[in-house]
């Protein structure tokens, strides 16, 4: 065939790789307060602008501004701050314990704490959560005992998942927190199913689900968006755009061609794009989406524009694929630092209180961890009964599994 020089295979590549200086000067970041807050029942066709802007409340001078300011009381903001700090300190401790062989695997949520903590606070406890593996802040905000979280991660005798699941793949039915799969994106349309059932039953509860921007490439994303739109499901579909999917930057998921929020508009639902490191903005957009869903307005997609400040998991080294100081250069800052500075700015917090809170939380995490370890770790101490591995395959254990268990001698 005749050659055509204009026809070239395009493979997107990130702007900077290891050894280079991170550059974010091309990001189009509107000022805090610049985006208006629409009526919760606005027609998605009129909302395209929201998908291409960025909702922000906290200014760089630490003041909260604009129509999206949720006007949270200081106690609520302090709870948010405390839970984000707890999430980070918990993560650090657990990662360290993974490094010394107490568990097989860990994933931190550093830099993304506002997404889970602010959203948990903006939702009702009866709302059902279908998270991915980086929303441990949801559990902490909803009051899951750290001890239970640790017991799971250690696969010990008190692990509510009975030693069957990788660490951090939590499940907490009592807290309306769905079992995390480990396979990407599978929960996205399941959350829609839960929401459709809520509509079928005529109840007031909605569901919320989270995936990363990388996972928007999966068919599960398309299923979730289509089914949510078709059935006008009361669901909040969150895409946490943390810029990196293991080693692939967001351009490999199609982020260079349009925003992820813009996909929502294409499916016929509002697509809100929010500064994911701005606790107040995340809280506000979630409240908006929840109110819309409870009023019969159906689904909302939210793109949380944030940054994965640590490795994907304990299995990868980010300095192999991105500049080492890229996390520090993220222009939207750190969610904990920003809320802390805001509270200090309005006279509701101080450096001393902050240091004391870190000490308190660290002591709590240490104490809880010691107790958890007394119930065993992956490689030592108590474990769930071996015979239990043949249970829950089905509700009733079939004969062939009973025989296999006997063959193992347990």
């Amino acid at each position: 065939m005749a050659p055509n020089d204009g026809n070239k295979l395009n493979v997107p590549a990130p702007r900077n790789r290891p050894g280079e200086t991170p550059e974010f000067d091309n990001l189009d970041i509107p000022n805090a307060g610049a985006v208006s807050r629409p009526d919760v029942m606005m027609d998605p066709k009129e909302m395209f602008g929201y998908a291409n802007s960025l909702i922000r409340v906290l200014k760089m001078n630490n003041k909260a501004v604009g129509e999206w300011d949720p006007k949270l009381c200081a106690d609520d903001m302090r709870k948010g701050l405390y839970d984000m700090m707890m999430t980070r300190i918990y993560d650090d401790r657990m990662q360290n314990m993974q490094r010394v062989g107490k568990m097989s695997f860990y994933m931190k949520s550093r830099g993304e704490e506002a997404v889970s903590v602010a959203q948990a606070m903006a939702l009702d406890d009866k709302d059902m959560l279908f998270p991915s593996y980086r929303q441990q802040g949801l559990l902490i905000s909803r009051g899951r005992d750290l001890l239970d979280m640790m017991n799971h991660c250690l696969s010990n005798s008190r692990d509510n998942c009975k030693g069957r699941q990788l660490p951090i793949m939590y499940s907490w039915r009592e807290g309306n927190f769905f079992s995390i799969s480990g396979n990407l994106g599978t929960q996205f349309c399941q959350a829609v199913g839960w929401a459709v059932a809520s509509a079928y039953k005529g109840e007031n509860a909605l569901s919320a689900t989270w995936i990363g921007e990388g996972t928007t490439a999966t068919s599960d994303f398309h299923h979730g968006m289509t089914f949510a739109a078709v059935y006008n499901a009361p669901v909040i579909l969150n895409v946490v755009n943390n810029q990196w999917a293991i080693s692939s930057f967001q351009g490999i998921a199609g982020g260079e061609k349009s925003t992820f929020a813009a996909r929502g508009v294409g499916y016929g639902m509002p697509g809100l794009r929010v500064d994911g490191n701005d606790f107040l903005a995340v809280y506000a957009v979630t409240k908006w989406a929840a109110e819309r869903a409870r009023n019969g307005g159906g689904p909302t997609m939210i793109e949380h524009y944030t940054y994965r400040a640590d490795a994907h998991s304990t299995s990868d080294d980010p300095s192999k694929y991105r500049p080492e100081d890229e996390p520090k250069s993220w222009p939207l800052g750190d969610p904990i630092e920003r809320l802390k500075q805001h509270l200090i700015e309005i006279g509701e917090w101080s450096e001393e209180k902050h240091s004391r809170a870190i000490e308190e939380i660290t002591a709590l995490v240490t104490r809880k961890y010691k107790e958890a370890e007394s119930y065993g770790t992956l490689n030592s101490g108590e474990r769930p009964e071996v015979s239990s591995m043949f249970e829950d395959v089905f509700k009733e254990q079939p004969e062939h599994l009973r025989r296999q268990r006997q063959k193992l001698g347990v």
Binding site: L9, V11, A13, R17, S104, F105, S155, D159, G163, R164, Q165, L166, M169, S181, G182, N183, L184, G185, G214, T215, A217, T218, S219, D220, A245, I246, S247, S248, I252, A253, G254, S315, D316, K320, Y321, L378, R383, P384, V386, M389, F390, V393, H400, L401, Q404, L408, V410
Partner: protein
């Protein structure tokens, strides 16, 4: 000959084929700049260019469909599915499309694609990083299914797979990447350094698809196995006190039944060993074909050693994994009744 572990051998197979054939392209999640989560494609993008070795969006169905389309347009795609536990979103494209394209079009179109995917347990990967789903693919007409057990075979078989004009699902037991594994996690990890199959030519060579290999000769009984369980079976054979023959299938479909049958008809006793769950596993098919070929020569019922019929349990990995003890029990049953 060079010393290579299994990752280096697989990397070398890619490198040789990228060099040899400009229609070869390599892609998958994280395989480009990063070189894959197990480093199987490390350095290949830098050497061969971003248009030939590149990252894909996270969508296994998309990866395989893309490969089919590229294959129809004269390329020879080599894809990586990061873990075989993640292959299911691609199931429709593999089972309904790649496998049948040649047949349904009367031979007008075909899918010359290779689907590499790490499988198996033993690395504390839990239920989503430990599965052995080969039996799901061996059931499908039109797909060739391979599982290599060592660096030398992995490279030669992978080159054959890439050159093959039919779709090949190429399973890589990840527990073997850095060394043979004999089934006892308490023993120090072995490397391929001193293993005969860790000697790998640096250049081009092939191992034919569809040919099994006898990796230990014996006259008392035949163990038919593949993947990680080859090494576990060899270790059990050594310990058993019997003269055990061990066959490494290497290719599951098309199955080298003639090779298996000639052994089993000679020894009269057989055990089929795999890590995958038992019910409906590929072992059932092997056993059935042996029964068809060797029934009148058999001196004992054929035993099967396999994973329990449960999801891979994170904390009970070694109670789940069919280790030496279970193979030895089976040897005892077959030999002593």
């Amino acid at each position: 000959m060079a010393k290579m572990n299994m990752i280096q051998a697989i990397n070398s197979a890619h490198d040789v084929m990228l060099e040899k054939d400009s229609s070869v392209v390599v892609f998958g999640e994280d395989v480009g700049y990063f070189g894959g989560v197990f480093n199987a494609t490390e350095g290949l993008q830098e050497k061969h260019g971003i248009q030939r070795v590149f990252d894909t969006p996270i969508a296994e169905g998309g990866i395989i469909a893309l490969a089919i389309g590229m294959g129809v347009n004269d390329l020879r795609p080599v894809t990586e599915i990061q873990f075989s536990d993640y292959i299911y979103p691609a199931f429709d494209q593999i089972v309904s499309e790649a496998s049948r394209l040649r047949y349904r079009s009367g031979g007008e179109y075909w899918a010359p694609i290779t689907i590499r995917t790490p499988c198996g347990g033993g690395i504390r990967g839990g239920q989503t990083h430990s599965q052995s789903p080969e039996g799901i693919f061996t059931h499908v007409s039109g797909i060739k299914t391979i599982m290599a057990s060592n660096p030398y075979d992995a490279k030669g078989l992978l080159i054959s797979a890439i050159e093959d004009d039919d779709p090949v699902v190429f399973f890589e037991p990840k527990r073997l990447y850095n060394g043979p594994f004999y089934g006892d996690p308490k023993q120090p990890a072995q490397s391929w350094e001193n293993h005969v199959k860790g000697e790998v030519p640096e250049g081009y060579y092939t191992i034919p698809i569809g040919k099994a290999e006898t990796v230990r000769s014996g006259s008392d009984l035949t163990i038919v196995t593949y993947g990680t369980m080859v090494h576990v079976s060899l270790a059990a054979a050594e310990m058993s006190g019997y003269d055990v023959e061990v066959i490494d299938l290497r290719t599951l479909t098309p199955l080298d039944i003639d090779h298996i049958a000639s052994s089993v008809c000679r020894t009269g006793r057989c055990i089929v060993v795999h890590e995958a769950t038992k019910t409906g596993g590929f072992g059932a098919e092997i056993l059935s074909q042996i029964q068809e070929e060797c029934f009148w020569k058999l001196e004992a019922p054929i035993e099967r050693v396999a994973g329990w019929d449960i999801p891979y349990p994170h904390a009970f990995e070694w109670e789940y994994f069919p280790g030496q003890g279970r193979v030895l029990d089976a040897i005892k049953i077959v030999m002593e009744g």
